[in-house]
Symmetry: C2
Amino acid sequence: MVKAVAVDVEGDACVVRKSSEGNRLYSKGCYGIKEKEYLLNLVETCYLIEKGRVEARRKGKKINLEKFMEYALEYIPDFEIKYLVYRDLRERGYIVRMQEGGESFLLYERGKRPPAKPAFQVRAISERATFRIADIEKNIEDAENKLILGVVDEEGDITYYIAKFFRMKGEMEERDYEGKIILLNDRCITKDEGLREKLREDFVGREIGEYTQLSLMEAAYLVEKGVKVTRRGRKMSMERFIKHARKIQPDIERRLLVYKEMRKMKLLPKTGFKFGSHFRVYEENPEKSHAPYLVHVVDSSHESTWAEVSRAVRLAHSVKKEMIFAMVGGDKTKYIRLRRITP
Amino acid sequence: MVKAVAVDVEGDACVVRKSSEGNRLYSKGCYGIKEKEYLLNLVETCYLIEKGRVEARRKGKKINLEKFMEYALEYIPDFEIKYLVYRDLRERGYIVRMQEGGESFLLYERGKRPPAKPAFQVRAISERATFRIADIEKNIEDAENKLILGVVDEEGDITYYIAKFFRMKGEMEERDYEGKIILLNDRCITKDEGLREKLREDFVGREIGEYTQLSLMEAAYLVEKGVKVTRRGRKMSMERFIKHARKIQPDIERRLLVYKEMRKMKLLPKTGFKFGSHFRVYEENPEKSHAPYLVHVVDSSHESTWAEVSRAVRLAHSVKKEMIFAMVGGDKTKYIRLRRITP
């Protein structure tokens, strides 16, 4: 066994005493940086202490793993979280470096190391942190590489997600409609045979016996496309229809915006209720293919828990779908895909 | 084809004109009740109009299906929801009756009808309704039969759940522990070999290299069982430990209560984070069997959306687990199982 390398803990850096040993740590495992001396950061040092490859001293006194962790927490409040992610990736055999500023890690492709470019930027996140969609969006925008989120659960297990902007595209052509529908309260119906025929061809609405039933969402779309809607025998404008719908489903306009955008992308959105999302989305004829996407519409102030997100993505994958958050509120809708991966 | 039965719509009841026809509707399909005359309720009538078996008149004028639905909405605000559930169960070939008061339906076992006892009480719920755990509990308590919740999504598809109080029981004996653990910030670690050995046998904590890591939950349990906890070299009382933990995980006491109860039931709870729930729960050795339950701890004021619940139950089933809500806050914890069924 190699003799442990002696380092001196000073503030949030650890100085390698012998330059030759620092050099070896860097050349062999890509640990540390060379300034005047070889310096290890707290996360690296902790890992090397755990592995028995470094012996750390502070003010001349040896400091063991537990004490070192307690010490590191004073400099990095979420040290435990960062350490677990760093450690896990190292144990999987990757070269991982702390990014300047310490906010995230740079992860290299297997077998690669600097000066090669890192393939991923990895953020370590506690399961107890709030999931803010705007943060995710910013993280994706800021990352120079692909973004991975490593979410650490209370028992130290890590779930990794790749987060990225995502483009969907389908083959379901849009067209105009005419005819009449009736608004009941929280849904519409129609017995208009001409319209029903078109709806059937386009997989819009649901046939219930002798009539076709439409969700408020579908109905709103049809009304914009030229269909007339009445309630208790009286015609309704689009404005009045939306006003009514908003009482029943307060976020109808946000959802409708995304519904219409997806229709423009030639996609067919249907309710995703059974999967706990707003839409399941088809690229082509739903009788011939399954829906490859679940789309959840949120505004840019949306917050949730990581447990919810974990559940959403896991369920999506269990039914072979991608989980996509459609974030509205900026100048254009951002479609953000979260996919669980095993590094 | 049988000639449609003439009924007169009067308020929220529909009077069958000819007693002999009312009699036949009742004896053949179990529709209506006999008072002075045979009366159908609005849901039954709507279904029979749709099937072409009833022709309804109001003030002498014929009223078609759409008009009838609009009319019924004036008496039953969630008529669309109730009707879809009633219709779906009828279409599946069951005898369904509206319960007195109209709050729910009575569902008979296949092939059974009154005077047999109904097997289930079915509540029709809109996906847009708020999921309140206290309501579910009350519904279970009030139901004279097994309770089914029929949740109607915006497109009219129905997901059925059986809701019931549930008892779990395992084979994992509890025991006391001694030894020392160190609180870092959001987790504990120990290098105490005697303790680590016991924890390993009991599948508590997680081995990370040369130490064992414990979640705050597990640590709190161990501290109550006799383990000493220190932070930065100073001993901590159970009270101080919980005070610290509460800052990191505000609902720790509620979760701990349920954790301890489950341990008393000889179950082994571990984090359910990957499934979006608080605990996955084992009945026996986790190396030999999978966790049959997901347990989510909520207080009695807990509210959520049905979409979330739909997702939670669906995910649980996709990994062959039962979804259980542990409702704390009353004199004792209520364990409520929601299981998706196809009637």
